[in-house]
Symmetry: C2
């Protein structure tokens, strides 16, 4: 049995997977903020899963952790995890020492990309486009993550696409993330409810002109992300996941319509068949946690060794 943790900005999604990689137990708890709180909560999640499974923590063969930040998979070190208050933390070694189990760390979007690829039984090359608080992608080729030289592949949210765009927290201006992610929607369609994107789509459906405009901007931003992924890597398909993907078919249709409109003006783009490559992640499945568990299972000689 193996554990996968998806450490998000708000909650930790934790699963136990069986030998086939299928989740058999699942729980959630708040992430907390800062290394002490987050790592304690992560360890608590693993202990709770052990209870639920009727085993000691040490019985787990591995723990895989997906976390938002720049991850060095070899050392288990995480940098720039701004959302959870980390700057440079040895997540792998620390958790491993606390649990007595090998721990492997992965960027959360990479973990979700791998989980989605496996859960959806995909083949060939896939770009997993995560529309969460921010925007990032994970690349999977023939069942393996394409992490890049420093595990930074897929950070397309910080590709500027408009010199006249908004200032991004990363320091640049007009980044894709400033138009095509959850935080962008919240900024452009502030709402009292919990789901600004849902409120946005409802208001646009009801004919509010500003909502129509903001919704169109979102679709164009997501379409630009798809176009960028395909023009650069020519992945067979682009799977759209993350919080905004819960908007479902209306979002997918919006994005496909933009891609088709662009294709109508460019035979070159038309030949790439962009709109035919996109699909939604089926909702509900814990792709990031299961992907993290898979990363844990695939641990190499570089896996942080359990300190017993």
């Amino acid at each position: 049995m193996r554990v996968g943790l998806d450490i998000g900005g708000t909650k930790i999604d934790a699963v136990v997977v069986d030998g086939s990689g299928a989740p058999v137990h699942r729980l959630r708890l708040p992430t907390g903020f800062g290394p002490d709180a987050v790592l304690t909560n992560a360890a608590t999640a693993v202990a709770s899963l052990a209870d639920r499974s009727g085993v000691a923590v040490e019985a787990f063969e591995s723990v895989g952790v997906g976390i938002p930040g720049l991850v060095d998979g070899t050392t288990g070190r995480v940098r720039h995890a701004v959302n959870i208050g980390f700057d440079d933390v040895a997540v792998g070694p620390t958790l491993s020492a606390r649990l007595g189990v090998p721990v492997r760390v992965e960027n959360d979007v990479n973990a979700a990309a791998l989980g989605a690829y496996l859960a959806m039984s995909l083949s060939g090359s896939v770009g997993y486009l995560n529309l969460g608080t921010g925007l990032a992608a994970g690349l999977v080729v023939d069942g393996e993550l394409w992490r890049g030289s420093r595990g930074v592949s897929g950070e397309i949210g910080h590709v500027p696409v408009d010199p006249g765009g908004e200032l991004c927290p990363c320091g640049q201006r007009g980044c894709l993330e400033t138009v095509a992610a959850g935080a962008a929607v919240s900024r452009h369609w502030p709402t009292e409810g919990a789901y600004p994107a849902v409120a946005l789509f409802a208001a646009a459906d009801a004919g509010d002109p500003e909502a129509v405009r903001v919704r169109a901007d979102l679709a164009a931003g997501v379409a630009a992300a798809v176009r960028l992924l395909v023009l650069t890597t020519d992945v067979d398909s682009v799977v759209i996941g993350g919080g905004l993907s819960n908007l479902g078919r209306p979002l997918l249709d919006d994005v496909a319509a933009v891609l088709d409109r662009w294709a109508a003006g460019s035979p070159f783009l038309a030949s790439l068949e962009l709109s035919s490559r996109i699909e939604l992640l089926p909702p509900g499945f814990p792709v990031a946690a299961v992907g993290a568990a898979t990363v844990g299972a695939r641990g190499s000689a570089a896996t942080t060794v359990a300190a017993v």
Copy 2:
């Protein structure tokens, strides 16, 4: 012995390579325009190389062809080779039938990427950024081309980066290619001489304010291409080749300076160490032709079979 042909917009660069992949003969002749002329000139190039090598054409084990366009490596078919007047031509089968030698076809920038990777003894992952008439990239990972699902990977010249930019022949507006390629330089710095980019750099060095501006725009455009490649694929290094790379160190330094300036305003970008990843292709080596020869040598079951 194997042949590699780099079919460019103006000339065909043709080499014979020995068993180690090193070029032993080389010649150039005009490309011509349209399928009949181009394929005839290509066949002539191979025949001339055979003469020079003292063998019959059929003695060559394979011919690899790099050509600017959308290439289907399985069928040897080339579409949208606008520069040389092709729309949809079965280059592989036609040449193979004419020569009696297996012929394999590859996109020219992909061929150059592979040739550069081998010639420079690179390892890991490399983005080869070709600054020719247009702008495109080739991706090589652990010695293998990453072509993508339809051989379109690396077409980053047609990623729009400025909604207010110039109309691109592809139908979109503000494409990277409209700022960071040879045709863009010719447009923005028209000159009577043969090398607008050289004239541009000289005028900028002499203090011409417009030249300084155009030169700065070029550097920023190339830097944007580097940033896009790394943020998306996180390649270990970016090798800059193609006609504009003959500007040499001054271009590289310009681009590095832009990347460093951007890094100074963004800790996130700074962590990616963009300026340390770029290098120039050493001039003179026939990377595209040698890369094409390598593609020919690696022919699989999909290689167009010689019609004898």
